[in-house]
C-alpha cells in the first residue's frame, strides 16, 4: 500500500515528530539544531507563561468567529439564497466573481488584499469620494483588514455548498407553507433553515477548520503585526520557529493547534455520521 507509506511518512510522521519535538530544545541554528536535548514540559511551561500565547489564541478565535462563522457562512448563505430568486444573469455573474476570489492562488489573493487596504489603496480611494480619509488600515486596524480579506477570499465555498443544498429543498414544502400564510421570513426561518440543519453544521465545521489554518493571507498582509496585533496561531508558530529560531517552541504551538484541529475534526465526523445514521 504505497498510500499508507506516503501517509505514514509525511503526514503521520510530522504529527508524531511534532509531539516529540515539542519536548526538546531544538533550535534553527547552533549545536541544539542537530542534537537537541530532552527538556520535558519546558516548552509548554514557557507557552503558558508567554503573554503572547493567550493573545494569539484570542486573535485566532476572533479571526475564526468573525471571518468564518459569521462572515463567510452568513454571507455565503445570503448570496446563495438571493441567487435562487434573483435574475439569472446577475446570479451567474455575481457568483462568478465570488468564485474567482476563491480560486486565485492564495499568494495573489493576499497581494490583492494588501493593495486594497494599503494607504493609497482602493478602500481609501472609495472613502475619499465620500470625503473621508483613511490611513494605512493594515497598521491601524489589522484585524479588521484580515477578517474582511478572508471573507472576500473564502465566501465562495459556503455559497456553493448552500446553493446546492437550497436546490434540494423540495419546492412543495415551501409552497405548502405559503398557502398556510407564512411570510417570506417565516418560510426561511421555519422551513428552509431547519431543513438545512445538517448542511449548515458541516459547512460551519469545514469553514472553521480551514480558517484556523490560514497563514499566507495574514503573513503577507500584516506578518502578524504591528507587534503581535494580528498574529494568529499559525503566524505565531512560524515567527517563533523561523524568526526567533526556536523550532521546539514553534513545534509546541503547532501541537496545540493540532489538538484544537483534532477536536473540531472529531466533532465534524460525529455530525456527519449522525446525519448518515438519520438517513
Amino acid at each position: 500500500m504505497p498510500a499508507l507509506i506516503l501517509l505514514g511518512l509525511f503526514l503521520l510522521g510530522p504529527i508524531v515528530w511534532s509531539i516529540i519535538g515539542s519536548f526538546t530544545d531544538a533550535t534553527l541554528t547552533g549545536i541544539t539544531a542537530t542534537s537537541p536535548d530532552w527538556v520535558g514540559l519546558a516548552n509548554y511551561e514557557r507557552l503558558l507563561a508567554d503573554p503572547d500565547f493567550p493573545l494569539s489564541l484570542w486573535l485566532t478565535i476572533v479571526f475564526t468567529v468573525l471571518s468564518a462563522v459569521v462572515g463567510q457562512n452568513v454571507l455565503g448563505f445570503l448570496i446563495a439564497f438571493a441567487m435562487t430568486r434573483a435574475d439569472r444573469r446577475a446570479a451567474t455573474l455575481a457568483g462568478g466573481v465570488v468564485i474567482v476570489a476563491w480560486v486565485l492562488p492564495e499568494i495573489v489573493a493576499a497581494f490583492v488584499a494588501y493593495a486594497f487596504f494599503s494607504t493609497d489603496g482602493t478602500l481609501n480611494q472609495l472613502l475619499a469620494t465620500v470625503g473621508l480619509e483613511g490611513g494605512n488600515w493594515l497598521y491601524t486596524a489589522p484585524m479588521m483588514a484580515i477578517v474582511l480579506a478572508n471573507v472576500w477570499r473564502g465566501t465562495a465555498f459556503s455559497m456553493l455548498v448552500y446553493r446546492a443544498a437550497l436546490g434540494e429543498v423540495p419546492p412543495d414544502l415551501i409552497e405548502a407553507a405559503e398557502i398556510d400564510g407564512a411570510t417570506g421570513w417565516q418560510r426561511l426561518t421555519l422551513v428552509t433553515i431547519p431543513l438545512l440543519r445538517g448542511t449548515i453544521g458541516t459547512t460551519l465545521m469545514l469553514v472553521t477548520l480551514q480558517t484556523l489554518s490560514v497563514f499566507t493571507l495574514i503573513y503577507v498582509m500584516t506578518a502578524g503585526g504591528p507587534g503581535n496585533a494580528s498574529a494568529t496561531l499559525p503566524v505565531y508558530a512560524y515567527q517563533e520557529a523561523f524568526r526567533f529560531g526556536s523550532i521546539a517552541f514553534g513545534t509546541a504551538i503547532a501541537t496545540v493547534m493540532l489538538v484544537i484541529g483534532a477536536v473540531f475534526s472529531v466533532l465534524y465526523i460525529r455530525i456527519l455520521s449522525r446525519a448518515e445514521a438519520d438517513r
Binding site: 498510500a3 480560486v103 489603496g121 496561531l233
Partner: protein, 303 residues
C-alpha cells in the same frame, strides 16, 4: 467570467431545474414576488461589485505603465509590464518549477489514491469503516499547523531543499481528500462489470487497471485537477521547505519579487500575478464543466 455564463449541457440542465422552481413564485401569483426578485438582484449586483473591486486593481495595474496601489484606469494601456517580467529568471523558471511540482504531486496522489480507494470501495468490513473515518480525519487537520514540525522532520531526514521531498509532502497532505473523492467516484462504477472481468480470470489489479480506471476517467481527471490546483497555489510548503532560488515555484518567487521590487514595480507584480493565476482559473472552469456544475469541486474542500 463570461465563459462561465455560456450555457453548456449541464448548465442548461441546471437552468431548467431553476426554471421549474422559481418563476412559479415571482410571476403573476404575487406582486411581492416581483419586488423580492428585484431586491435579490440588486443585492447580488452590490455583492458582485464589492467582490470585484479588489480584483479590479490587479487587472488594471497589470496594464498600467505607472501603476501604484491605486485602482484607476491606466493613462495609457501598455504591455510593458508583461514584457518586463517575461524573462526566464522571473517567470519561466518559477512557472516551470510550479508545473513540475504540481504535476508530479497530482500524479503521485492520484495513483496512490486509486490503490487506496479500491479496497475501500469494493469490500465492506469494520476495518474499512475505521480507515474511512481516519481518512476523513486527515482531511480536516490544519496542514499549516504541521509546517514547523515538517521542517524539523525534513532537516532530520536530509530532505530540506529537495524537490522530490517537497513533492512527496504535498502528495501526502492532499492524499486524504483525494482518497475520499476517488472512493466516491469509484462507488458509482457498477461492480458487475468487474465480476465479469474476474470470471475471465483477471486479477484485482488487472480489473482495477483495465475496467475500473477507464470507467472513472472523468472522476480521475477531477481529482487530478483538484490536487494540481492545490499544489499550484500552495505557498507555505515550498516557502518553508525549498531554499535555493532556482527551485522556487511561482508562489514563492512572487513573494520574493514583492519583497525586492514590490514598492516600485506594482505593475510588474500585478502582471506576474496574472500570469500565475490565469492557468488555475482556466483549469477550474474546465474542471467544473467536466463535472457538470461548479458545486462538485466545492464538496471537496480546499485546504
Amino acid at each position: 467570467m463570461t465563459a462561465v455564463a455560456r450555457p453548456t449541457e449541464p448548465a442548461a440542465r441546471r437552468t431548467t431545474d431553476r426554471a421549474r422552481r422559481s418563476p412559479a413564485r415571482p410571476s403573476v401569483a404575487s406582486p411581492r414576488g416581483a419586488v423580492s426578485r428585484r431586491l435579490a438582484t440588486a443585492a447580488l449586483v452590490v455583492v458582485g461589485l464589492a467582490f470585484l473591486l479588489p480584483l479590479a486593481w490587479l487587472l488594471l495595474a497589470a496594464f498600467d505603465g505607472e501603476a501604484s496601489y491605486q485602482t484607476r484606469l491606466p493613462a495609457r494601456l501598455t504591455l510593458d509590464n508583461f514584457t518586463a517580467v517575461l524573462t526566464p529568471q522571473t517567470t519561466f523558471q518559477p512557472l516551470a518549477n510550479s508545473l513540475l511540482l504540481s504535476t508530479a504531486t497530482a500524479a503521485i496522489t492520484v495513483a496512490a489514491a486509486l490503490l487506496a480507494a479500491y479496497p475501500l470501495s469494493r469490500y465492506r468490513s469494520r476495518f474499512h469503516r475505521g480507515v474511512m473515518y481516519g481518512v476523513l480525519f486527515g482531511t480536516c487537520l490544519p496542514i499549516t499547523a504541521i509546517m514547523v514540525p515538517v521542517y524539523g522532520l525534513f532537516v532530520a531526514l536530509g530532505l530540506l531543499d529537495s524537490m522530490p521531498g517537497t513533492i512527496l509532502f504535498l502528495a501526502a497532505s492532499s492524499l486524504p481528500m483525494a482518497v475520499f473523492m476517488t472512493k466516491g467516484f469509484m462507488d458509482s462504477v457498477p461492480l458487475s462489470l468487474e465480476e465479469a472481468a474476474w470470471i475471465d480470470g483477471a486479477s484485482a489489479m488487472r480489473a482495477l487497471r483495465s475496467v475500473v480506471v477507464p470507467l472513472m476517467r472523468p472522476g480521475i481527471a477531477v481529482v487530478f485537477v483538484f490536487v494540481f490546483l492545490q499544489a499550484w497555489g500552495n505557498f507555505f510548503a515550498p516557502f518553508v521547505l525549498l531554499l535555493s532560488p532556482s527551485k522556487q515555484p511561482a508562489a514563492t518567487s512572487i513573494y520574493t519579487f514583492f519583497g525586492q521590487y514590490g514598492s516600485i514595480a506594482y505593475g510588474q507584480l500585478a502582471a506576474f500575478s496574472l500570469l500565475y493565476s490565469i492557468p488555475v482559473v482556466m483549469l477550474y472552469i474546465v474542471a467544473s464543466r467536466l463535472i457538470g456544475g461548479s458545486f462538485a469541486l466545492a464538496g471537496s474542500v480546499k485546504g
